[in-house]
């Protein structure tokens, strides 16, 4: 499924969580995955938990 993290579109496995998408984002950017992961928001400015489910077309903004 396609999700967008910080305006970058990623193809990620079906059933991925917010944490999975964030890890995929850092990996695609060739950056080390931070630990712990920073907080993230959806397209409407709501905070989303790292174990939250994503669906096709979800948008995330990493709060760094």
């Amino acid at each position: 499924m396609k999700v967008t993290v910080n305006r970058i579109e990623l193809m990620i496995f079906q059933g991925a969580t917010v944490a999975d998408a964030m890890r995929a984002y850092y990996t695609q950017k060739k950056e080390k995955v931070p630990s712990p992961l920073p907080e993230a928001e959806d397209a409407y400015g709501n905070s989303v938990a790292h174990d939250g489910a994503l669906t096709d077309g979800s948008h995330l903004i990493i709060k760094e």
């Binding site: 193809m11 990996t27 709501n46 939250g52």
Partner: protein, 489 residues
């Protein structure tokens, strides 16, 4: 007397310091009000129930007719609940004790199998709702598409529920648990229930779609038909008013960390005013004694220490444990090949003897999901090569179903060559496509070109291992197993 003071103080705290809504409308004598406390994605976090139960009691002292609802995914996330003799029962019993009125069906309600889910719907003293699901005809589920609740003040409130589906038209859970079920598109299903507004004062969707999908749904509905969407699935912390196409949408993060207190006031002319506050649950504080007693009993359950298999031979290294876990993953996912990363094995040694569920959660405490993909030999090579050099966390992977021959530089920093062999030593066909399993952490951090992005089986690698061991009973000897060769060693 002391309890009353505590209740009053708690409510005062809840209603003054945690609120976010600025849209509170004054109620007049002729107005009728409904108060709802909504949570979602409890995920079997039973340890928060005593505090949550105290909150519910406190609020019911003020709002005796308050409805308590869940946006689904009550199940999965705590081994005490998930590995209970009757899987998932503790969460349902606690929801009964706290007095839930309604729950959406979330994708994780299916995780313990159809028979357990069926039993959960039967023992629940609340109603499960789902409007876009057709139930197996040969089973006796107690799930309704909608419910109209008549409040003591005469208000009629219609609740309808929708469940998110993946592109295969199924909820995100293990496909083996969906035999006999069928599902319909939630966005095409929703309009079919708008007629309920004709006989109800309020129409509310209690969904498990995810926040962004709830916004999509709200924008697709005729204005004025639906008053509120209470959501779940995306674990979104909605702490301020979210109004889309005139419909308020709420969601309260997950795991009973928060709850949303919603007030709906219906004016004599039918106009509805709405307000919401996100209340914090998981701080230290007062607990309801009866619920605490139940939770302590569940946590003391010997099921985690119960012997599920025996290993006659000790595991002397992380490599031996890694091969064993890779075999468990391959068996769980029913794939031809499986890979486990070195970091996915927490311990370096396991003594011969009995193996309990707790042993498995000690070896694999990460909660990673099983992910399956169809990959060609060339794609697998790109995957394993990327794992060696990409993030650099894993270097070498533990395989099941093939052997890996790495040729690396003297300082181990560079992969010079990588060869695959079948387990019997014959050449591996690189042009064929294979079913492959790994864990969600590995595949999220793998950066390689492939046609199939993969999908989760909605089961953790640890749970898969436990299920496999309960069938196998005896663990084979891994002391002579070698599947990874580095510079021919």
């Amino acid at each position: 007397m002391k309890n009353r003071v505590l209740l009053a103080l708690f409510v005062l705290f809840a209603l003054t310091s945690c609120g976010t809504s600025k849209n509170v409308t004054q109620k007049t004598v002729t107005d009728r009000e409904i108060v709802i406390l909504a949570v979602n994605d409890i995920h079997a976090n039973i340890d928060n129930f005593p505090r949550f139960a105290f909150m519910v009691d406190s609020l019911r002292a003020i709002y005796p007719d308050m409805l308590l609802v869940s946006g689904g995914d009550n199940q999965t996330g705590n081994p005490i609940n998930d590995q209970y003799q009757e899987k998932g029962r503790p969460t349902i019993e606690l929801m009964n004790a706290v007095g839930f009125d309604l729950s959406a069906v979330g994708n994780h309600e299916f995780d313990h199998g159809a028979e357990n889910f069926e039993k959960h719907t039967q023992i629940a003293k609340f109603d499960f709702l789902c409007a876009n699901m057709n139930l197996p005809k040969d089973m006796n589920f107690k799930v309704k598409p909608y419910k109209i609740v008549t409040m003591k003040n005469g208000l009629k409130v219609g609740f309808v529920s929708l469940l998110d589906l993946n592109p295969n038209n199924q909820p995100a859970c293990h496909p083996d648990h969906l035999t006999g079920f069928s599902f319909t598109d939630p966005y095409k299903t929703a309009p079919k229930y708008l007629y309920l507004k004709d006989s109800a004062d309020l129409l509310i969707f209690l969904n498990h779609l995810g926040f962004e999908n709830d916004v999509k749904l709200a924008n697709s509905l005729p204005e004025g038909t639906v008053d509120l969407i209470i959501g779940g699935h995306s674990h979104t912390k909605v702490d301020k008013d979210q109004i889309h196409n005139g419909i308020m949408i709420t969601q309260a993060d997950s795991k009973l960390k928060y709850a949303t207190l919603i007030n709906l006031i219906v004016k004599p002319d039918g106009q509805v005013s709405r307000s919401m506050k996100l209340l914090t649950v998981d701080r230290k504080g007062n607990e309801q004694a009866a619920t605490r007693s139940m939770v302590d009993k569940y946590n003391d359950n010997p099921v985690m220490k119960e012997v599920i298999a025996n290993a006659p031979f000790e595991f002397r290294s992380k490599d031996e444990l890694g091969y064993w876990m890779a075999d468990a993953l391959k068996a769980t996912a029913k794939t031809q090949i499986a890979f486990i990363n070195k970091g996915g094995v927490r311990i370096n040694h396991l003594a011969a003897g009995d193996i309990s569920r707790k042993t498995i959660f000690t070896i694999d405490p990460f909660g990673n999901q099983v992910v399956t993909l169809n990959l060609t030999g060339h794609e697998i090579k790109a995957f394993i090569t990327n794992m060696f050099g990409g993030q650099g966390y894993y270097k070498i992977m533990y395989p099941s179903g093939l052997h890996l021959k790495y040729t690396v530089s003297e300082d181990d920093s560079k992969l010079i060559n990588l060869e695959f062999l079948n387990e019997d030593g014959t050449p591996f066909d690189m042009d064929k496509t294979y079913s492959v399993a790994t864990n969600s952490y590995v595949i999220a951090t793998a950066d390689f070109q492939r046609k199939d992005p993969g999908k989760t089986l909605s089961i953790t690698t640890a749970e898969g291992c436990i299920n496999w061991l309960m069938e196998e009973k005896t663990v084979k000897n891994y002391q002579n197993v070698k599947r990874v060769f580095v510079n021919n060693k």
